[in-house]
């Protein structure tokens, strides 16, 4: 199975690889997938005044998984948290031309951003508490 050009481009030049301080109160961290399944994504966002100002990822997985998480970090930067919640895996799959067997990579990327947002919101709730 050949990879789409966009997958290859993201795989070879991944955007926003790295780590944010997971203990910072402005940072939300999502860790999804499982090593036994062959895919683990860690996606982090930094939020200032409801806007995602930075995003970083690290992914254990195939080229499509790496490309999906790279793409999501690129997309969400500058986006409001509310808007980022609306991201759908189908948008990722379409942008990267993922074949059916790789759709789960885009699902995982959607799960990762949602988990990061949930983690951020939980921190905020705890602060209010």
């Amino acid at each position: 199975m050949a990879y789409s050009e966009k997958v290859i481009e993201h795989y070879e030049n991944p955007r926003n690889v790295g780590t944010l301080d997971k203990n910072s109160e402005d940072v939300g961290t999502g860790l999804v997938g499982a090593p036994a399944c062959g895919d683990v994504m860690k996606l982090q966002i930094k939020v200032v005044d409801g806007i995602i100002t930075d995003a970083k990822f690290k992914t254990f997985g195939c080229g499509s998984a790496i490309a999906s998480s790279s793409l999501v970090t690129e997309w969400v930067k500058g986006m409001s948290v509310d808007k980022a919640m609306e991201l759908k895996n189908s948008m990722i799959a379409e942008e990267l031309n993922l074949p059916p067997v790789k759709i789960h990579c885009s699902v995982l990327a959607e799960d990762a951003i949602k988990a990061a947002i949930a983690d951020y919101k939980k921190k905020k709730e705890a602060q209010k508490g």
Binding site: Y3, I8, Y11, P14, V17, T19, L31, V32, G33, A34, P35, A36, C37, G38, D39, V40, M41, K42, K58, T59, F60, G61, C62, G63, A65, I66, V101, H104
Partner: protein, 408 residues
């Protein structure tokens, strides 16, 4: 010397045709195109003579006589014919078949089919090296057992099974149990002899030994005579066991390939194991957590199957775009399950996902080994920098302590 890319290092999947094999084949496409079954003219005689020479050559590779070799379209057909043909012919004697969990799909799926037809099949587990012992096989034999079907060497992890001991154990436990050996990966790579293995049936394939695709053979013992029910009906070729016009050029190529493998096996094994050891040494010197899958001692000379912890196999192969290798990662298969062979050894699923199989062959050079080693190290380092698992391990987090999502 500059290395020419892409580099083919997947010689368990197939091999390039040796130029000497191709030269032997060409006349049988051009002038000597006759049907080996044509008994009444010179075209047929020439084809028949060539086929009979090849029968001797392929037989000699596994210590068999020419008369015991049946031509097929490849090892999958040989395996189907052996298992289905024997199960059908000997059904009055019993219905129990013994095989192994790490066998090739051609054997496992044929066994599944036979189960539907009323056979009972025992799938023997392997130890952590991928091996099955003679004692295990003997213990599994019952008064209903008619056939034991096992491979001489595994296609993924290259483990070489003690088929000679297994054959002896089978025959001393119950003499009339047939022993079928899938010798596809072993023949021409490590010594394998049908008489030393005391086997009754054995499958071999041309394209694994630098011959053409689409040609295989089944060894069928004559003394004592082994009977099979034919699975393809037609003109009664191949002693009635496999009808169909013979693929004469392919068979000629198989014969030449077998002769070359037989005469060059010892030297080639030494060279390939040297290259393999060189590659492993480089990888282990330059990377942490490189785990060997399968037995190191009982292993095909050209096989190196390793897991690079915290890096996913398909992602790694994508980085090695100039190098053709193979992975036990689920992502490389349609099933989304990681290699059943590695899992049978007890390799964890995450390590199975991280496995790469290097299949080093006749035409690989030391320069290629060094190129591959260098690129693998670079790619693993790059992907580990990108791996959340690697990061967690560096931070001292035990990955087993994490509650991972259960679904795939």
């Amino acid at each position: 010397m500059a290395v020419k890319v892409p580099i083919f290092m997947d010689n368990h999947s197939t091999t390039p045709v040796d130029p000497r094999v191709l030269d032997a084949m060409l006349p049988y496409f051009r002038d000597d195109f006759g049907n080996a079954a044509s008994r009444n003219h010179v075209f047929g005689w020439k084809a028949e003579k060539a086929v009979e020479l090849a029968r001797e050559q392929v037989g000699a590779l596994i210590g068999a006589s020419a008369k015991e070799m049946v031509w097929t379209s490849g090892a999958t057909e040989s395996i189907n014919l052996a298992l289905k043909g024997a199960a059908e012919f000997y059904k009055e004697k019993g219905n129990h078949i013994i095989t192994g969990q790490t066998e090739h799909k051609a054997t496992l799926d044929t066994c599944k089919r036979l189960e539907k037809l009323g056979c009972e099949v025992t799938y023997l587990p392997v130890d952590k090296e991928g091996l099955i012992s003679a004692q295990q096989v003997a213990d599994a034999i019952t008064d209903k057992t008619i056939l034991v079907a096992l491979m001489a060497a595994n296609n993924e992890i290259g483990s070489v099974h003690p088929v000679n001991e297994i054959g002896a154990a089978i025959k001393s436990k119950k003499k009339d149990v047939l022993f079928f050996v899938d010798a596809v990966q072993a023949a021409g790579k490590v010594p394998f002899d049908v008489n030393e293995a005391k086997c009754d049936l054995a499958a071999v394939s041309a394209h694994k030994i630098y011959g053409p695709k689409g040609v295989g053979a089944l060894y069928v013992r004559r003394k004592p005579r082994v009977r099979l029910v034919e699975q393809i009906d037609g003109g009664g070729h191949e002693r009635g066991m496999r009808s169909g016009t013979l693929n004469v050029p392919g068979i000629v190529g198989f014969g030449k390939a077998a002769e070359l493998s037989r005469t060059e096996m010892a030297d080639e094994a030494k060279r390939l194991s040297g290259l393999r050891d060189r590659l492993l040494k480089y990888l282990q010197t330059n990377l942490k957590e490189v785990h060997i899958n399968g037995s190191w001692e009982h292993r095909l000379p050209g096989n190196l199957n390793v897991s690079f912890a915290y890096v996913e196999g398909e992602g790694l192969m994508m980085a090695l775009k100039d190098v053709a290798v193979s992975s036990g990662s689920a992502c490389t298969s349609a099933s989304l399950e990681p290699s059943y062979v590695l899992r049978a050894l007890g390799v964890g699923e995450e390590m199975a996902h991280s496995s790469i199989r290097f299949g080093i062959g006749r035409f690989n050079t030391e320069e290629e080994i060094d190129y591959v080693g260098k690129h693998v190290v670079e790619a693993v380092n790059r992907l580990r920098e990108m791996s959340p698992l690697w990061e967690m391990v560096q931070e001292g987090i035990d990955l087993k302590s994490i509650q991972w999502a259960a679904e795939h």
